[in-house]
């Protein structure tokens, strides 16, 4: 009967909406719970250090190599475009601004979401599947304090450092291409960069961005892992959601933060 299929469709939409809203509610409650258990992550620094190792140190190579390549491409493309207007000497400021303000935090964040975020989700999800989390609860060990909070803070601490490294490697890559390969004057390259980029509006806003991205990606990663269906498919779906949701969150947050930070600021 058509009316019953219509009713079923409406019911499905309703159920989906309720599920989405209650998941959002659980995510918010989860965030507060993680914050409340955060002191223990700093109390037992060894746990957090381990997570900084897994999220940060092991991401070093991919971050630094990508930064280098992004910088080298920026150097080539930027010089090509700028030189059409006789502004090839402005390569330094172009590269520096795009890396420090945008590309550093955003690309490092995207790489971080796929490299470290997915690993965190898969790890926590698998712990849930193999009932390690329940076992901890049985032993009166709160998995939020022992497992989730250190991973969250490990990610939050690692992310800004990775973004800064990405920017530095990018600037270095652009220097290699621009100064060493194309032959932009060394002094002009650095001088323009330093004249056009301020520590307060540009570098600090980039760092703030990377901290916000770190919080967002780490929270999504631990939440998806904790919330995963305790099956093989559930963990794989949760890992996918971390990468997709984390990347989208970074890009959307980047827009919002940029609106607040650079609206009407001009070039000064």
């Amino acid at each position: 009967m058509p009316s019953s299929s219509l009713a079923r469709g409406v019911r499905r939409i309703g159920a989906g909406t309720i599920r989405a809203v209650s998941r959002a509610g659980f995510a918010a409650r989860f965030f507060l719970l993680v914050l409340r258990h955060s002191p223990s992550a700093f109390h037992r620094l060894q746990l957090t250090a381990r997570e900084i190792y897994f999220a940060g140190v092991l991401s070093l190579v991919v971050i630094m190599v990508s930064g280098l390549f992004v910088g080298m491409v920026l150097g080539l493309q930027g010089y090509d475009a700028l030189n059409k207007y006789g502004a090839g000497d402005s390569l330094g400021i172009f590269v520096g601004l795009s890396l420090v303000r945008e590309l550093g935090p955003v690309v490092a964040g995207l790489l971080f979401a796929s490299r470290a975020g997915s690993a965190i989700t898969a790890e926590i999800g698998l712990m849930k599947t193999t009932e390690q989390l329940s076992a901890m609860e049985m032993m009166a060990v709160d998995p939020l304090a022992r497992i989730v909070a250190p991973r969250f803070w490990g990610g939050v601490i690692a992310m800004p450092l990775l973004a800064a490294l990405f920017s530095v490697m990018g600037v270095f890559g652009a220097y290699l291409v621009g100064v060493r390969l194309i032959g932009v004057d060394n002094g002009t390259f650095w001088g323009n960069m330093q004249a056009g980029i301020g520590f307060w509006p540009d570098v600090t806003n980039g760092i703030i961005k990377s901290i916000v991205f770190g919080i967002a990606v780490s929270l999504i990663a631990v939440f998806e892992g904790y919330d995963a269906n305790p099956t093989a498919e559930g963990v794989s779906a949760a890992t996918t959601r971390t990468v997709v949701g984390g990347s989208l969150a970074i890009l959307a947050l980047d827009f919002v933060l940029t609106v607040f930070m650079f609206r009407g600021l001009g070039s000064g």
């Binding site: 250090a49 940060g56 140190v57 450092l161 800064a164 490294l165 920017s167 330093q194 301020g198 000064g268």
Partner: protein
């Protein structure tokens, strides 16, 4: 992997990460330019400051000798009052001329100072009385067209 190795690697990671931030601050963002060099303040009024921005350079003979600190409108004379933070190492005579210039056609707007011959120097809080406003391109074009039209109709 044992604790000591992890600690070592995390230490290395945090050190080079913080090193990267310091590099961004010093080499890219040029934080050193905020160093507290002794400065003094000058004021100058302009009819029109054009596109002058805060922290725009003040140059004498092309050398940066100070920066624009604030711009406000004098509500009585309707002139723009620009206050300049000048490097203490450079002193200018009382009859210095300040003009608002643009480097190149599309370049940044800055204040150019041309020193005069007066033996008395401007002190802290002093006022540059001789100023030249920004050239507003639209007005110039408008004037040019107007002149053309009026000379055409006179014929």
């Amino acid at each position: 992997m044992n604790k000591a190795t992890i600690d070592l690697w995390v230490g290395i990671f945090v050190t080079i990460g913080l090193g990267a931030i310091v590099f961004l601050a010093l080499k890219v963002g040029n934080l050193t330019s905020i160093e507290t060099k002794p400065t003094y303040r000058l004021e100058a009024s302009f009819d029109n400051i054009g596109g002058l921005k805060l922290r725009a350079p003040v140059k004498a003979a092309g050398v940066i000798v100070g920066r624009v600190e604030s711009v406000k409108l004098d509500n009585k004379t309707y002139e723009a009052v620009v206050s300049l933070r000048m490097d203490n190492g450079y002193q200018f005579s009382k009859d210095t001329i300040a003009s608002i210039l643009t480097s190149g056609l599309l370049g940044e707007v800055y204040i150019g100072l041309e020193a005069g011959g007066d033996p008395v120097m401007l002190a802290d809080g002093g006022r540059i009385s001789k100023t030249q406003s920004a050239v507003v391109l639209e007005k110039l074009i408008g004037q040019f067209l107007f002149d053309k039209a009026s000379s055409g109709s006179a014929k």
